[in-house]
Symmetry: C2
Subunit: 558 residues, 2 copies
């Protein structure tokens, strides 16, 4: 399974080649991390996390496997970060300590968020080598990699793509992007640089596939701001607005709208406050007036207040959920209030968000959300934007990235419809080793890749076997039979999540179990076999009596 860790010199007489090795974010949306290897040098791009799917029960978050990087630790020359979203930097506190100390390059806000995150994990500034770049800077990593950061618009400031120049050729990676023509900070994507790179020759393009199934263009952040301004101007009572805490421009726009409409802003929720603090410190957020605390609004009328709060994904402990369920310590919603969800549910969160929305309606609050109200825009470009990048970059080879297979394949098909399609496109997945030179572009092998589950304090101590037990217990519950052999054999039965306390059924199960035990003892079987007999007898009985298959745990006390 594992790639030999020796260097792979270009000693075959072939053209110099580069390896692209996605370890996360290829064939999925989440936990982005990509390695590039040229001869005996490796550089890394991003180190993100993913949130669990519903069958990954009880998991807090997921980080990518980095066996390949650990096995080749001595070759790693540096890392670059494209932007400050969790799926690009959230894995750093777990991953950086497992790698040698390497320079980590990123823009100002990105590194500010990284510092905040590392300090939460008790990792001190001196333990990592963070190096700030401007989004036009070029940095050299090792002897073979030259990285030029380029500005791309997205749903967080300081978002970067990059042009990677290697002896094997030039790679253009968009990073996450949309081509917002009216970004809130006025800084549009650097299409001129992409066009120039295209003219100079791009060997490989990696481009964001998230919205490859959506026709047209993604709505601009300015359009969202205009819609929010019109909406809020028409609201008489208190306004509660939620969005992704990392959407600094959206929140800045709402702060400005509130100011223009003579509303003071109250910010509620830990992650909201954290992003706001880092953004202000680094000059990415400006407050016309200071935030008020929720206990400072007493003298204000309802139409003079606007709350920005966490909870756009229906998270149970978020401010909006606590407001909706009436268990916020300081604030109670009431008829006449308005709630704006400036967000869409991320796949998997639909039920949770729907529950919150229904509770808000039941309180009598006015609730505004997409698609009825156009108060959100994706951070990822749609087909027209993807086509623009492909047309400008004119890559020889193409890797649709940052997407599930459906997104990657539709991105690949889109590329084929263009006037100058790539010569070759690969639908890659995590762990693929993609070899790249002027003459070839193919998967030549695989390295270990996949998910490491983080749960509580544990990292990697939960595997798929443990998750399977959780799934089984969630479906049918658990039933524990304890056979005590002395002085007289008897069996105790305890269950959780199986059926309501039912003495008759418990008694029957005890009887079936005891018969199996007594027979085993009479036949002088080994205790393991007696235990297995008890297990089998109870399983058959329970299945027949209840139609169910709880997780059975047989214990024998000798």
């Amino acid at each position: 399974m594992t790639q030999p860790s020796k260097a792979a010199p270009n000693d075959t007489g072939a053209a110099p080649h580069l390896e692209v090795i996605p370890l996360g974010g290829m064939g999925e949306i989440g936990k982005n991390i990509t390695a590039y290897r040229y001869e005996d040098e490796i550089m890394i791009v991003d180190a993100g996390l993913a949130f669990p799917e519903s069958h990954q029960m009880g998991i807090d978050l997921i980080i990518p496997r980095i066996d390949y990087l650990q096995q080749n630790a001595g070759l790693i020359k540096g890392m670059i970060l494209t932007h400050g979203h969790e799926d690009h930097i959230g894995g750093l506190p777990y991953i950086l300590p497992r790698l040698p100390r390497i320079p980590v390059y990123g823009a100002s806000l990105t590194l500010g968020l990284v510092r905040e995150k590392l300090s939460e994990f008790g990792i001190k500034d001196g333990e990592v080598d963070l190096r700030e770049v401007q989004l036009t800077d070029r940095v050299r990593i090792g002897t073979h990699f030259q990285v030029e950061f380029i500005r791309m618009t997205h749903s967080i400031p300081d978002n970067a793509g990059y042009i990677l120049t290697t002896p094997a050729g030039v790679v253009l990676h968009t990073g996450d992007f949309k081509l917002d023509e009216e970004p809130s900070d006025g800084k549009t994507s650097d299409l001129a640089r992409i066009e120039q790179a295209g003219k100079d020759g791009v060997l490989l393009l990696l481009s964001d596939s998230t919205n490859a199934e959506r026709p047209g263009r993604t709505v601009s952040e300015a359009e969202v701001a205009r819609n929010l301004e019109t909406l809020i101007a028409g609201i008489k009572g208190r306004v509660f607005m939620t969005t992704f805490a990392s959407n600094v421009h959206r929140i800045q726009n709402v702060i400005n709208i509130a100011h223009r409409q003579s509303r003071r802003v109250v910010m509620e929720g830990r992650s909201m406050l954290k992003y706001a603090q880092v953004s202000q410190q680094l000059g990415y957020m400006e407050l016309p007036e200071p935030f008020l605390a929720s206990d400072e609004v007493g003298g204000l009328q309802d139409q003079q207040v606007l709350y920005v709060c966490t909870g756009s994904q229906g998270q149970p402990m978020s401010v909006l959920s606590r407001l909706a369920f009436g268990n916020h310590a300081k604030i109670a919603l009431r008829r006449g209030d308005s709630v704006i969800l400036s967000s869409n549910p991320i796949p998997g969160n639909e039920e949770a968000v729907n529950l919150v929305i229904n509770r808000l309606y039941e309180i009598g609050v006015d609730v505004y959300y997409p698609p009825t109200y156009r108060v959100h825009a994706s951070g990822h470009g749609s087909q027209e934007e993807l086509a623009t990048v492909l047309n400008l970059a004119r890559p020889k080879y193409f890797l649709p990235w940052h997407g599930e297979p459906r997104h990657q394949i539709n991105h690949a098909r889109l590329a084929q419809t263009l006037p100058r399609p790539p010569k070759r496109t690969l639908i890659a997945k995590n762990g693929d080793v993609i070899r790249l030179s002027q003459d070839e572009f193919k998967v030549t092998g695989t390295v270990p890749a996949g998910a490491v589950y983080v749960d509580g304090l544990g990292v990697g101590d939960i595997g798929d076997d443990v998750l399977l037990d959780r799934v089984n217990m969630s479906q049918e519950g658990v039933l524990i039979m304890t056979a005590v052999l002395h002085p007289t054999p008897h069996v105790e039965v305890v269950s959780r999540g199986f059926v309501r306390a039912n003495r008759e059924l418990d008694g029957q199960i005890r009887k079936v179990a005891l018969e199996a035990v007594e027979q085993g003892l009479r036949e002088k079987k080994r205790l393991e076999d007696v235990r297995d007999d008890m297990y089998g007898a109870v399983r058959r009985f329970v299945r027949k009596a209840t139609g169910r298959n709880p997780v059975l745990i047989p214990l024998i006390v000798d």
Copy 2:
């Protein structure tokens, strides 16, 4: 909590009044059942089931509580069924046996599906009193209820609304509906009858709120058929199409399209075959050529076959899922095949459907689904259609029905924008007793209502406490400590779904537990207290050591 079961005669001198008592389907989408009571007579409309939400783990399905009906069993005069969908008839096998034998009225296909369902549960024809009606028939139920069935278009044939005439006034109930102007059987909704009822005077309208948030009109079934025909005409290889098995018209249209395009139809999946069989027997489905079995297509070319199969919701055991995961016994998908999902995921099924779609892409199959391809239409009318019914019926009172609070409230708001809004609208919920006369329209009390969980063979033996255990175990696993007191105290530890086998941690837990037990014994505590001490000590230790809270089960063997 419970409503007294005595009759509620109109002896107060007030105008005669009717009670509407929704027991399911009000404030939710699913398990529809509504009772009407006039003096000492009750009639019932529908008896559906609901599918569990994700937190209702391991539950097979949910039926409504019918305590009110059981307590007033002697007053029940009859039942009517609006159509054959599971959320309207799926509860019958559980509910009918718990009620006295009453006449059950429904249209031909509806009763055909009911018979099929009852026979699966071993309930014989003679045990129930099913009475077939045409969709213009009037029937009398008891002495006070006159029901006139009216045709409404929906995503299943023979779908009915009704006009209920009582001494207290006239109720118009749309049932589930859209106003399809080009229904596949040519039979449009009976708007003329609704208009006439409006002129004659409708006291109360109950109308379908499902799509109250959607502007415009819902796409016609004919439009879907045209889009499917164009799409399939362009496909060269095998076609696999899935939709809801109950969407008889959609399936008939696809059968006709296949015939016109010289494709033979193979039908795969138990529920598909069941609906097709009942529909054919009753004349709702006609086959230009017989279905082929999947082992009869050997001599045909790829473009001569079309499979209709189950799996539109990503159900793991469905035909499409087995095809996607490569474990169907007879059929293997391959590059060049096309799969059409003529359906949208029902809320909660998004992840499962997405998984299947991605697997299909990975196989190299061409996959067609909404919204990119307009190959599905909802069975429920959008705002324009809802407005049309409100405008024609001109009800004095309005109960937005068949929706969650967000749908009900938006339906209510829509009604207020119309030229002749209802005099009063109530946002009701299951269990409300809604009193209705010419002079009043209000909630006067509540009766028990809610969910009965069906799991395996058990009906109602799982409560929210059991579900909470399942949720907890799914998040953190379970850990069982067995303290054996004789001859020398020792503790055994077993866990499931907690962490990977970890001897060191197990040893520490055993030590912590044993110390608590030994101290308790030294202090001569009662065994219950010793057990609680062990529980507390282990809980504290595990939380600190792992950051987790597994479900702990302490056992003491004396």
